[in-house]
Symmetry: C2
Subunit: 689 residues, 2 copies
């Protein structure tokens, strides 16, 4: 749990505070002092009377009541100290900087010590951050033992990091651009509070007036994906934006993460699917996280049409490429207002977009251009202003106009100030007004595109199609762990309302003939029993008469492990694929795609976690590389998208009713403009009791 | 042409030099003085006697002989000045900074003035850089009127830019990381010397002992692709590395580039194809160009196995993801030497790769690790060292060891020093030793992967298969502009040795029957005349007897514009595609892929410019997303790759013999494990005389 004392303590003690500011206990005290902590600040150190000008207690036992303890003593002394503070000093928040706990894989005592501490703290309903962390930064106090300290501002970013050093390096990347922070939590070993718990706290206490709307995460391990999903969605629905690095997605990266923070391997595909459902922008590195966060700190991008305003052609061209190659647009501007604007610029300027007002362009002209774009160019949703210097003139006046316009414009303005050396002073002045710079226009373009292409969160409890839950439960309760029989599959699909081909299993030749005749020729015949039927010659298509049924029956029954023959209606259509895969902790992933080479060669698969709404199902289909095929291509009929959406949501309803299902493979389904019909299916069930 | 006087002038005059260093003529003079130009420096200005402490001539006529003139006076005065200097002052090099020439689209006189100047300069075999440029930087002189001035060093980057402001902003991005430059050319309007000519000069005068091996280009317009290709390949074959931004590739970007530098639209696909053939690393922005250039300034990456050495887990994990998701590898290390190394590190360290020597790791340990990796870990090709600080200790000693090891190690070492604020002093000290920093590990990973995945240049004059050139020429010379007839196509393919299906055009019914019988049933019948045959019901497959031939003939001849019926052998196999497309100035692009949905939906096409070697053809096939299909997938036979390579190179030989061919479409060819046979073909010829 997170207590008020962790966020806004009235008193703090540094246990193990020191005069040596090159030790954690010295440095954290110095940072607290430098940050002008407004409450009471205490220090304990068995050997000192005065530490950095503050009266020092020889033992924690001598302390008065204390809200928050920041602990920087050796691991083995910590349990007793925590117990004392928790029991006798009313301490409700602990930040343990020291290492030497569960992160030491070959030191079993570390885990034992850590558990003792957590028990003490839990017993008094207090908070614990760490151990093995850099600490906590809030506008109230600078409780970290590291540098850099960013500019703290209630409207800056809230940042939760699963790695302390990485948190420092992320701030190193953000500070030069002007990025500010509100609260920074380094969770260390996450003994009590992990990234998920802190995000949950931020959601449950969210105050739209006072709290930051930008949340950043660095994660190597998603231990509680459902909590992450729930609170990320809730925060975003309250107007927040979330960007996250989830490192360790590659096979080698997963090994590295496991060695670093003990992360458990999670499929990167599952992480992408979770983040997409949550509406989290996934970032691949520190610099990208910083750019995305910086975009979030500006007005929201609500349309795809960008005006680029610059005195330099090259960066405008590169940015135009970046945006328009990734789904955004730099539309040609040509209207009466733009013609009027052109007359107010120097000869040779262009307003066609990019708006180029030449190397000699003035601050006043920039102001005029921005006003025109904001008020008169309805086709434009946002602006990027690229303005540097060749060193011949100061750009202070230009940046002052830019700052002023950013205050008042309705549309977002993203500043690219590339002359970070030559115009260093002017850029710093601009940043000191609370502004943020994007030094590289292409990186901005890539990041803007990424933000724009991230969907809003999905509905977490969508209405699913009605399925026959009683029948589904009865089938599941009467089956065993493993792949279920064709008849049970039929019954499950029927109960879920998923259309399937007319079919029947025959156990002898005359039965086969009778069933084929009742289904109607032509039919398909498939062996029942062996896996990988088609590899073993176990599938025959287009069987047109009784005689062929009889001879085919014999052939199929001669295959090893054959237990019967499935007789199916022969259908045509485009091969589609639907699937379910259960991911430990994450839940049931619903997958869709086209069949055949699209799934086998191109790996063109979309996914979402169940429950899947119609909107999500529709997005899944539209995300397919082969989506065009649904619309009908040369000579091929279109595929009924609504029926495919329905099949996806019904599959989701099926696994919601029967979470014991860990795998479904409907491959192929045949899609036409009329219908989507499952032709072959496998269902795997895991019963834990 | 480029004269020695442009590169290494003994004397320079600034025409229009000024005491006002916020004017180009003042600033360029100041830069020349600040750069300690070793030769004679002159100034002309009609109103001054002394400019920035240098004796000033009232008129160029008063000057002695001058090697290089840097001109910063109004455009209309320049032709006379240039003529005077060229004719009477033996001036062999001109840099014209002033604008007001052909870049002014609505000012026709500008182009006329520019032509006059070029004529004067050409008449004395002198060089011209500009007009409308920022100038030239070399270790010999700082002839630009802009800032920043990078550290100039003969082993720094050679940089040629089609945009002056962009050149400045690229240097702004590179200097903070420690990137140095040798020569910087801003070509402006490229009135005489463009990017291609300067690259050609660098190639023709290349001195492996003295010249920089790293060439950077910023281009919006590839006017002479063949020159670019030839000299890029030649330079790379001499040991150089080339990275280039070609901006304006998107449709909107192309419009923007045309407005900026008058660039002509070139398909981005053609540019990628050209760069791939040349071995140029294509970059998408300034920051990426800087990272790639910085990689080039290190020892060459010759294998894909990277060791990551760090005291911080997070960046190591992110870098591991970046590398291993893009074709490089961070292999697990476990050998006797690594076990020995582990004993020399603090408990809790890991040598499994990433090599993590903990937050408490020392400079000495870093040295030990690097030595082990360099000398004892044969499986490793290169190292990335990530080392920052939490602010508790100085990292000078660590960076000193790093610098020392980089001098002596056989394997490349790429330093990531993320604490650019907290360890600012130490990072600066490291850079002052000539080192380069990569502040973001993921950006380094992406860039390393890009470099590693760029092939060596192609052979420019490969041996092509022998084709019947006489026959090809005779067919081409006897045909007209436009799509050629089926019979001519047959003859051309036969002359080129490209296997085609047995086929024959029938003009009447009995002829059709006769030809079908001679080819052998079953046959395919296709209408001759209309385009888009299959859309119009103009293709019938699997015709098995005389009667069907007759009825099908009637159906086909009733189609509008039908002029005959093509009878073809009925073949089976995987549908493949081969094509030729002539790109203005670039030449004949040879394309290959799989047919059907792969080309229509997935756009899975590889290309190279003719002449295409076997190696290139093989790489084209391997680059296909659907390459797996060549190897045979479940239930499908493989495709004969060698035969497909041969077909590609024969197609290349065909267009080399007949450059009048502007388009070939072999779609489909049918591929089996035995053979590749063209089934349908279109060939379009453009005769210019």
């Amino acid at each position: 749990m997170i207590t008020e004392q962790l966020i806004n303590p009235r008193s703090i003690v540094v246990v193990g505070g020191s005069n040596d500011i090159f030790k954690p206990g010295g440095k954290v005290l110095k940072n607290l002092i430098d940050g002008n902590f407004k409450g009471e600040l205490y220090v304990t150190n068995p050997k000192e009377d005065l530490v950095q000008g503050i009266k020092c207690f020889r033992s924690p036992a001598e302390l008065p009541y204390i809200d928050l303890a920041i602990i920087a003593i050796a691991a083995r002394f910590i349990p007793a100290t925590v117990e004392l503070l928790a029991q006798f000093k009313n301490t409700k928040a602990f930040i343990i900087l020291s290492a030497g706990f569960s992160e030491m894989k070959d030191f079993e005592e570390g885990k034992i010590l850590e558990n003792e501490i957590v028990d003490s703290i839990n017993s008094v309903n207090a908070s614990l951050v760490g151990p093995n962390c850099i600490g906590v930064l809030t506008p109230n106090y600078q409780g970290v033992f590291t540098l850099p300290i960013p500019k703290l501002d209630p409207q800056g970013c809230d940042f939760i990091s699963g790695s302390g050093a990485t948190a420092c390096f992320i701030m190193e990347a953000g500070i030069p651009n002007g990025l500010t922070f509100s609260r920074v939590f380094s969770v260390g070993n996450s003994a009590q509070l992990g990234v998920e718990e802190i995000l949950k706290y931020m959601d449950e206490t969210f105050d739209p007036e006072k709290d930051s709307k930008v949340k950043l995460l660095y994660i190597e391990n998603i231990d509680k994906p459902q909590i992450l999903l729930k609170h990320a969605v809730s925060l975003i629905n309250k107007g927040c934006k979330i960007a996250a690095i989830k490192a360790g997605g590659s096979e080698a990266g997963s090994r590295a993460a496991s060695s670093h923070t003990g992360a458990i391997a999670t499929s990167d595909f599952a992480v992408n699917t979770l983040f997409r459902k949550a509406g989290i922008v996934r970032c691949n590195g520190r610099e990208e996280l910083i750019y995305i966060a910086s975009i979030f700190m500006h007005k929201e991008l609500i349309g795809k049409n960008i005006a680029i305003i610059s005195h330099a052609g090259g960066p405008s061209v590169m940015l135009t490429d970046s945006l328009s190659n990734q789904g955004l647009s730099v539309p040609h501007i040509d209207n009466p207002a733009s013609k009027e604007l052109l007359t107010q610029l120097f000869p040779g300027s262009s307003v066609a977009n990019p708006i180029d007002f030449l190397a000699t362009g003035t601050a006043e002209q920039l102001g005029t251009i921005i006003d025109y774009v904001d008020n008169k160019f309805d086709e434009i949703d946002a602006m990027v202003v690229i303005f540097g210097t060749s060193g011949l003139f100061t750009v202070s006046d230009v940046y002052a106009v830019l700052d002023e316009k950013m205050k008042h414009c309705k549309k977002p303005i993203f500043p690219v100030l590339p002359s970070i050396l030559t115009a260093k002073k002017e850029v710093q002045e601009f940043l000191s007004k609370g502004r943020i710079n994007f030094p590289d226009e292409v990186f901005l373009g890539n990041s803007l595109s990424k933000v724009f292409n991230t969907n809003a969160p999905a509905e977490l409890n969508p209405r699913l199609p009605k399925v026959d839950t009683a029948k589904i439960r009865s089938i599941i309760e009467n089956t065993k762990t493993g792949y279920i029989s064709p008849v049970e599959i039929q019954n499950l699909l029927d109960a879920a309302g998923i259309q399937r081909v007319a079919e029947s299993v025959a156990e002898n030749k005359s039965d086969a003939v009778e069933k084929a005749e009742s289904i109607g020729f032509p039919v398909v015949m498939k062996v029942v029993g062996p896996l990988h039927k088609s590899d073993k010659g176990g599938v025959f298509l287009n069987i047109k008469n009784k005689k062929s049924v009889e001879s085919t029956f014999d052939k199929l029954m001669s295959i090893e492990n054959a237990s019967g023959v499935l007789i199916q209606q022969m259908l045509s259509g485009t091969e589609l694929f639907l699937g379910v895969k259960y991911e430990e902790k994450f839940g049931h992933m619903i997958l869709c795609g086209l069949g055949g080479i699209f799934i086998e060669i191109i790996k063109d698969v979309s996914a979402s976690f169940s429950p899947v709404s119609e909107k999500e199902a529709s997005d899944m289909i539209k995300r397919l590389k082969a989506y065009k095929i649904f619309k009908g291509t040369r000579g091929q009929q279109p595929i009924n998208e609504n029926k495919f959406i329905e099949a996806i949501t019904r599959l989701s309803a099926l696994v919601e009713a029967a979470p014991e299902i860990i795998e479904i493979d409907l491959n192929p389904l045949l899609g036409t403009s009329e219908n989507i019909v499952a032709v072959d299916a496998r269902i795997n069930v895991l019963k834990t009791n």
